[in-house]
Subunit: 267 residues, 2 copies
């Protein structure tokens, strides 16, 4: 359209890059605004949720994707989770970092009652070769990727997991020891050891499970609970219909649908 000189175009590109930095900053400010606004509402919600029996058990079993992270043998410990809370860092330079707290109920003779908090930190990693210690300080480089990392978090494992509990495996170099170690690391309790710094040697997709809690399960827990209740009521009313008022209808249906089969049978 307009005749722009090469010089003007170069200047526009430079200013556009600066403009993009403003956009990025606003994105963080928006996130900060949201976190601060939500804090008291989430606190209130945490208190209300405590009064609803089996709230988290129902939410976690309703969420389809969550099950993909959990081994079948873990489910009884998932069911023992009484309370989950997520706290989001609101300092502008810490946006994207968060911590998740789990309150486990006691399972007699197997699991201790415990409250465990795992912290996740969003850091900028410049290249795959770079060491972890440089990751946070090197902000100026071309296109740093934002990566979630965590510290190993202390948790009491269930007694039933003694054979795969990494702290109790005596010979980690034997083939049996290695196998059990790997099994343990893949369990939900293994996720608490996830750091994000040893890919392939830790709980698989530990970062995705963390963001599943922080971006989906915790913010939308009431939605998942309500969905689960609705599914349950639908099932209930289906069985009520067929046993009471539904009787006539199902007889009608039988008349409408079955003749062909009946005929077929009598012919």
């Amino acid at each position: 359209m307009s005749n722009t000189s090469n010089e003007e175009i170069s200047e526009a590109f430079l200013k556009l890059a600066q403009n993009e930095l403003k956009v990025e900053l606003i994105d963080k400010e928006v996130e900060q605004f949201k976190i601060k606004k939500m804090e008291s509402v989430y606190n209130e919600r945490d208190t209300l949720i405590e009064k609803i029996p089996s709230f988290w058990k129902i939410v976690l079993s309703q969420h389809l994707d969550f099950a993909n992270y959990i081994r079948a043998s873990d489910f009884k410990y998932i069911d023992a989770i009484e309370k989950i809370t997520v706290k989001y860092a609101s300092d502008i330079e810490k946006i994207g970092s968060f911590s998740i707290t789990f309150h486990f109920n006691k399972i007699e003779g197997d699991l201790e009652e415990q409250i465990v908090t795992k912290n996740f930190k969003l850091v900028k990693i410049v290249s795959e070769d770079e060491e972890k210690k440089d990751a946070e300080s090197d902000e100026e480089s071309a296109e740093p990727e934002e990566t979630l990392i965590s510290d190993v978090c202390s948790i009491q494992w269930p007694k039933e997991y003694n054979s795969i509990n990494p702290d109790l495996i005596e010979d980690k170099k034997s083939s049996e020891g290695k196998k059990n170690y790997r099994q343990g690391m893949k369990s939900f309790f293994g996720w608490f050891r996830w750091t994000g710094l040893k890919p392939g040697k830790e709980f698989p997709h530990g970062d995705s499970l963390a963001t599943l809690f922080s971006e989906d399960l915790y913010p939308y827990c009431v939605k998942y609970y309500t969905e689960a209740q609705r599914d349950f009521e639908d099932e209930q009313s289906d069985s009520e219909n067929s046993s009471e008022e539904g009787i006539e209808l199902s007889e009608d249906e039988a008349e409408d649908e079955e003749p062909a089969q009946k005929k077929a049978r009598t012919e």
Copy 2:
């Protein structure tokens, strides 16, 4: 865990529903905060983009999903789009509504230069049977769905589209007329007539194309432009490699690959 009475549970559910309304309100406040913060940055960006030749042509051809909405014959008119801007409603009760403005360049003997704005409104529709006029006022009902609607927007069609231009089809009831009408409604110019109120009789997925502009193409236009430039540079450097330092390699490749064919031809 705790022994909660049924009364306490009912009260918790009631308060949880109120809490959810607070969450919804904060979501809107967050969106409002973002729109207001972004406004001046987007304005600045619009001005900078004007200086970059073929910016929108490059962005729109880079975006993979956009092409799914556009017929092959529309592309030359898409290429004539000089400028796109999106304005987002920032009133708390209008959050989710927006308008898109297109500046079309003239195509000699075919398309007039024109600036066209299409407005989109987010409304709550309570049930499918309900009339449009009730949709906005009836906020109290159980689970209203948020739906995007629009007004028919006046736009000059290209001369080449005379046969499918709905305003110029004389006999819309003939089979030829119907066929042309449908073709026209499926074109990019047909999208400007999309209202969201006559499903199956309008531009298909008109709402998705609108949100593609408002939530993806406009906010991330610089990202798409940069990606397109990078792809272009990669291609350039590939062809440079093969013409200079790359020569040896391509001769090697020729030796490795072609003998079979040459043999086949001489045999």
